[in-house]
Structure formats: structure tokens, C-alpha cells
Symmetry: C2
């Protein structure tokens, strides 16, 4: 079982109330791969510029992350800068320099085409569809998207949605895509567009999942110190898909447990700047926090 | 086992995006008593004006709610008006006419003084302390408060907090009282002020509870249609305290189950205007939704 992820790799400038840094390896594919690699081998397809060094790859050392789909193009790696408000509830984008990511045309290496699960991180929906045409009958296809594509490429987005199994988006995106403030009603409308499973990330508040006739809801893990929310959603997706790939049957119970593992990875991610916490995270810590999640949320039936 | 609640009874003007009404029986003690009465006899201490009719009492008919502590004073019953934004996330107070509530001096009738549990709804903290001096060794005392008292009567509030067991407040109040945006840290500071158990209500997002060395977190029940958030917090408190009063031992597990019952009552409350949904709610519906909550949130251990 392996996962293919297609998405961005970037250098981030991060300013948070407690820490900041000028050049942190980021991007959805980076957070996803680090998180999913606790469970399963990850095949990464992304593009970086010629400013991306061997040292930048070091974060993946010792993990089962296959970077043979990491294309190096002439030019600069995608750069993004973000600054958070004092209480971390608001983020201002300082700049976005797409660099080589602007012309990203994902080509899936032959040995990645049989990946068991596929995750299409937030890129142009037409590219997401193109990736689906290159892979061979994965067990499950998940995808993310953002307000930019919901606004500007609705037809292309609809085509993408009609072909995936699981959509993983945040609550604002769900409201916008579903055209309803109420998330239960928005979810029903989104699922009519294609994805049989919808996972809605609510940041510090938790996750809502809609799937066939069932719903699952959980909280976010309460933390005494949150340093940097960057990458939490992609870490969630990595933990979620990574754990799913270990399961023989992708039933309700597997999806629920996968959502908890996703939440665990998201909760570790925000404990330090950028990928710093994920980089030093251990598998034991991941499984320990899963159990803490169970203890945190469990209550007796009547 | 019976519960004593001391708080407001009011006539509300409610304007929501879908429904409105001019004179709805409301107030914290009303929502609390209706909700708690599904579990236990409720003793109400409150004040109303001479505009409060026999018909206004009818909402409590057929429930084990003892209104012999409902004092009628000369003047008008407390009136409050609120209007909600389109997505219900913001509330504007249209007016507050305290009427007879302004001079409320709760006197606990002799046959209420042995109530097993006591809940001090949101009134002046000095009155809350005064009530505590009138009751005889209850098993547990819970209380609510609001930003107004946190700002204006901090010393009186501290005195009240030092004497209660459980504080039930919302997240904004917790942040203000604890002087910290982070709720885990705010909770630690609040518990140093007295209450061994702190229950933080997060509206549509759920509940966080801190108690000794343990934490409990749960979601709010996802609803397809929310009509009116008024009274949800007081209904939560009523369900929470009401269920607790049925338990022989007030341990962690009892508190967790009580929080779920509180959430169940809060979720029903918002399904219609004012107390309309609570007024027609059945005990079977309450217990059924508890089980739905379990199904909604449960996931397997590893």
C-alpha cells in the first residue's frame, strides 16, 4: 500500500506571535508527505526550482518518502509568506511568488501509477483531473481545493469533484462550495457533486464528516500552546489518508479512526513553526496521542 | 434528589432570520427548569411582575417544577429583546428593561433549602453568594456568570467563585475571566479561583471540561436547521445539572454523561423559537438523541 500525493512544495516566510522564520520548507505536499509517512510509503509529485538544495530534501531522510517525482525546473521554488494575528485566528498573506509552480504540469512516474491511494492537494482542478487520468484504478482518491478555484474555475472544479471519492476542505470552503451557511445542508449539496465522503476541517474546533447515511464529528485536541497553524490542514489530510492506506476495508470505522489520526497529526503540526514539530515527531507519540484522544472524548452509553 | 435554580424569568422579544415573536417566556431560570425537569424535580426561585399571568405559568404544567419560590412583585417582568444576524453568529441586544428583576433579592423558601444540587444562574455575584448562605450543604453548587460581572464586580465574583464546585460559562467569558486567549491556560487560571470543575460552552462547536487531572471535550450536535440560539446555554446547564442530580456518585464519568445530556438539551432548544421546542420535547427524544450523540462521536480504540 502506498500513497501518491500531488501538490505544492514551497519555501515559506512565517511570522507568528511567538516565532518567525524566513525560509521554512512548506507546501501542501511537504506537510502531507511527512504526516502520511508515519503510516505508509508516500510517493511525491511536485516541482521545485534550482534554488532547492540537497539540504532541503534532508527533512525526508529516514522516512519512506519517495521523491523521484519531485521535478526540478529552472527558476525559483514557490514562495509564500504569512503573518498571524496575536490570537492566531487571522492570517494575512504577505506575498505569493508562484515561481516554477505557475507552470507545474504533474507527470506521474511510471512506478507511481499503481499507488493504492491518491491525494490531490490544492492545485488547479484541471491538473487534478489530469493526474487522475494518469493513475491506474486506485482504491480511493481524495482531494482538497480552495476558495480561489471555487470562484474562478467552477466548471473545472465540478469535473474534478465528479471523479473523486473523498473531499477534504475547511468549513469556509464548504459553505462557499455548497452555497449554504449551515454545514449539514452545505454538505448534502457538495456530496451531490460527486464525493461520497466529505470531510470538513474546522480548525481549532474539530472535524465533521458526512458519508453515506452516517455522520461523524470530533473535536480538535486542546493544546496549551499553539505556535503556528500553517500546514495543519495538510497534515490532517496526510494523517487521514496515511492511516486509511493501512486498512484492508475502507468502511465507516476506518474513516473515523483515520479522522482521529488526521487530527493527531494536525495537532502536532501546530505545536512548532512550520514543519519543525513534524520533523522530530515519533510514531510512538502519534499512537499515544490517538489514545489520549480516545480518553479525551469518550463517554459511556446509557 | 431535587435541584434549586435561582435566576431570571423574562419576557423576550426575539427576531431571528426565520421566525420572530413579541412576548416569549424566557430567562435563564425558565430554560434551565424546563431542561432539568426531564431528569429531576426543579425548585425555582425568581421574580416576576404583576404582568405575569396564570397562562404564563402553563409552560411548566405537567412537569415537576415547583414555582412556590416564584415571587410576584409590583411592577413589570424583566423584558429583553434580541435580534440575530442572517447566519445566527451575531446577536444584537435591542433593549433590556430589568423591571422587577432590578431589585431581585432571592429568598429561598424553607422547603427548598435542602435541595440536593444548586444552580446559580447569571445574576449579581453578591446575590449568588447570598443564596449559598441560605441553602444547607448541597451535594454540588454550579454557577454561571457573564462579562458584565467579570468587568464590574471582580471582587464579588471572586468571592462567589471561591465557594462553588462547577462553573459553566462560554468561551468568551472564560477568556476574559482567565485573562488568556488559549482556553487550556485560561481554564487553569479559573480553576485556581475556586471551581474544581470548569465547563466551557463553545456554542455551535461544543464543550470543553476541565476537572482535576482530566479533560473532556465534545462537539455540538450538527443540526440541519437552527432557528434561535436564545437559551441554548441555560438549557445546557439545565440538562447538565439535571442529569447529575440523578447520579449517586458525581465522578468523571457522570460529569461526561451530564455534559452530553446538556448538549442534547441545548441542541433541541435551538430548533425553534424561544422555549417552543423544549415545551413540546419528550423524555424519549432526549434519551434518543443521547444515543445519537454516542453514534455520532464514537470511534474505536487501537
Amino acid at each position: 500500500m502506498s500513497i501518491l500525493v500531488v501538490g505544492s512544495v514551497a519555501f515559506d516566510v512565517l511570522k507568528t506571535p511567538t516565532k518567525e522564520a524566513d525560509r521554512v520548507l512548506g507546501g501542501a505536499a511537504t506537510y502531507f508527505a511527512l504526516s502520511a509517512s508515519f503510516f505508509t510509503p508516500v510517493n511525491v509529485v511536485a516541482v521545485v526550482g534550482d534554488d532547492f538544495t540537497q539540504a532541503d530534501r534532508a527533512i525526508f531522510n529516514g522516512r519512506s518518502v519517495d521523491l523521484s517525482g519531485l521535478e526540478t525546473a529552472r527558476g525559483k521554488t514557490f514562495r509564500w509568506g504569512g503573518e498571524y494575528s496575536r490570537d492566531l485566528s487571522e492570517r494575512t498573506t504577505l506575498f505569493t511568488d508562484l515561481g516554477v509552480f505557475e507552470k507545474f504540469q504533474p507527470t506521474i512516474p511510471e512506478h507511481f501509477r499503481h499507488s493504492s491511494l491518491v491525494f490531490l492537494a490544492n492545485i488547479h482542478p484541471t491538473l487534478q483531473v489530469d493526474v487522475m487520468s494518469q493513475v491506474r484504478s486506485p482504491r480511493l482518491i481524495g482531494a482538497d481545493t480552495m476558495n480561489y478555484w471555487i470562484d474562478r474555475t467552477p466548471a473545472e472544479l465540478r469535473e474534478m469533484l465528479s471523479r473523486i471519492d473523498v473531499l477534504v476542505i475547511n468549513d469556509e470552503e464548504a459553505r462557499q462550495l455548497g452555497g449554504e451557511h449551515n454545514l449539514v445542508r452545505a454538505a448534502a449539496r457538495i456530496r451531490e457533486m460527486g464525493p461520497s465522503t466529505l470531510v470538513i476541517k474546522r480548525g481549532e474546533y474539530g472535524v465533521l464528516c458526512f458519508r453515506e447515511n452516517e455522520r461523524f464529528a470530533t473535536v480538535s485536541f486542546p493544546l496549551e500552546m499553539v505556535v503556528d497553524p500553517t500546514g495543519a490542514g495538510d497534515s490532517f489530510a496526510g494523517g487521514f489518508m496515511g492511516y486509511l492506506s493501512t486498512r484492508a476495508v475502507l468502511d465507516h470505522q476506518a474513516v473515523r479512526q483515520a479522522i482521529i489520526f488526521g487530527s493527531v497529526l494536525g495537532s502536532f503540526c501546530v505545536e512548532d513553526l512550520g514543519t519543525a514539530r513534524l520533523a522530530r515527531l515519533t510514531r510512538d507519540e502519534v499512537y499515544e496521542r490517538y489514545q489520549e484522544f480516545k480518553t479525551l472524548t469518550d463517554f459511556a452509553s446509557l
